[in-house]
């Protein structure tokens, strides 16, 4: 299903206790919410993977699997894009720390790919410390409309 509503404007906020099931719970919600957007099906799946990586990172590394900590999710669905902000109670990470882990462990590393995958999928990804002391990761994806996909396909063939 692809919705073509020109006045898309939904803002959803939620908070959840840190749990191994948090990534799946958020993904089930995302699976329903991306259907409200005009995203192409393959873009919907990619975006769900990106968000899953961020929430998994919050559960494992940010909140360090502590069930007493919280994950906050903010979902903004607009006419041309979808933006998700995931916050946790951790110390956060830096670009250099991500690159260092990825490069030092190499392709056979059993971890360290999550944020890199999200970076490759999202159109814009930012992270920052908030005024209330949480660490936030913001992920944005602009909708690629079917006609844009067709243009890209022609470019590839040429």
């Amino acid at each position: 299903m692809q919705r073509t509503d020109s006045n898309l404007n939904e803002h959803i906020k939620m908070e959840m206790l840190n749990s191994i099931r948090s990534p799946q719970i958020v993904d089930e919600l995302m699976k329903a919410l991306v259907e409200l957007t005009p995203m192409l099906d393959k873009e919907k799946y990619r975006f769900r993977v990106a968000i899953s990586e961020i929430v998994t990172n919050s559960y494992l590394h940010g909140n360090q699997q502590n069930p007493e900590r919280t994950i906050w999710i903010s979902i903004l669905i607009l006419t041309n894009r979808i933006e998700i902000v995931v916050e946790d109670e951790g110390d956060g990470f830096t670009e250099s720390a991500i690159s260092r882990k990825y490069e030092s462990d190499g392709i056979y590393a059993s971890g360290g790919r999550g944020i890199k995958i999200a970076q490759k999928i999202a159109d814009k990804i930012e992270w920052y410390h908030t005024d209330r002391g949480t660490f936030a990761v913001s992920v944005c994806k602009y909708y690629k409309l079917p006609n844009e996909e067709a243009v890209e396909s022609v470019k590839v063939k040429v």
Binding site: I20, R21, P23, Q24, D27, K42, Y45, R46, R48, V49, S52, E53, T56, Y59, L60, I107, Y108, A109, S110, G111, R113, G114, K116, I117, K120, I121
Partner: protein
Amino acid sequence: MDIKQKDQGDITILSLNGRLDLESSTRLKSETDSLITDRHNKLIFDFKGVNFINSSGLGALVSILKNVNSCSGKVILTGLAPYVKEVFEITQLSNIFEIYKDERQAMNKLKSM
């Protein structure tokens, strides 16, 4: 995630069904490690039923691959949906995993070893 095991000679086929993510990857790794310990080191993972994978699932598979390689075995993945395969390509893991379209091709490859 549901994991079904089928043995054909010295080849073990594991049919996965559901999500391969943080929660299920630990179980997949643990069950596969037990198989490897029992000398099942020619493994085919049938992904036809996998509808979601993220880096946690990939991490478990890489760990299994390392374990199998260390005992001169082989891991082959089959039946990946295009969107699942894309995650392997994004991470360049398609360079280290042998990926075949279907189980028959994978069986032929392993039988020729």
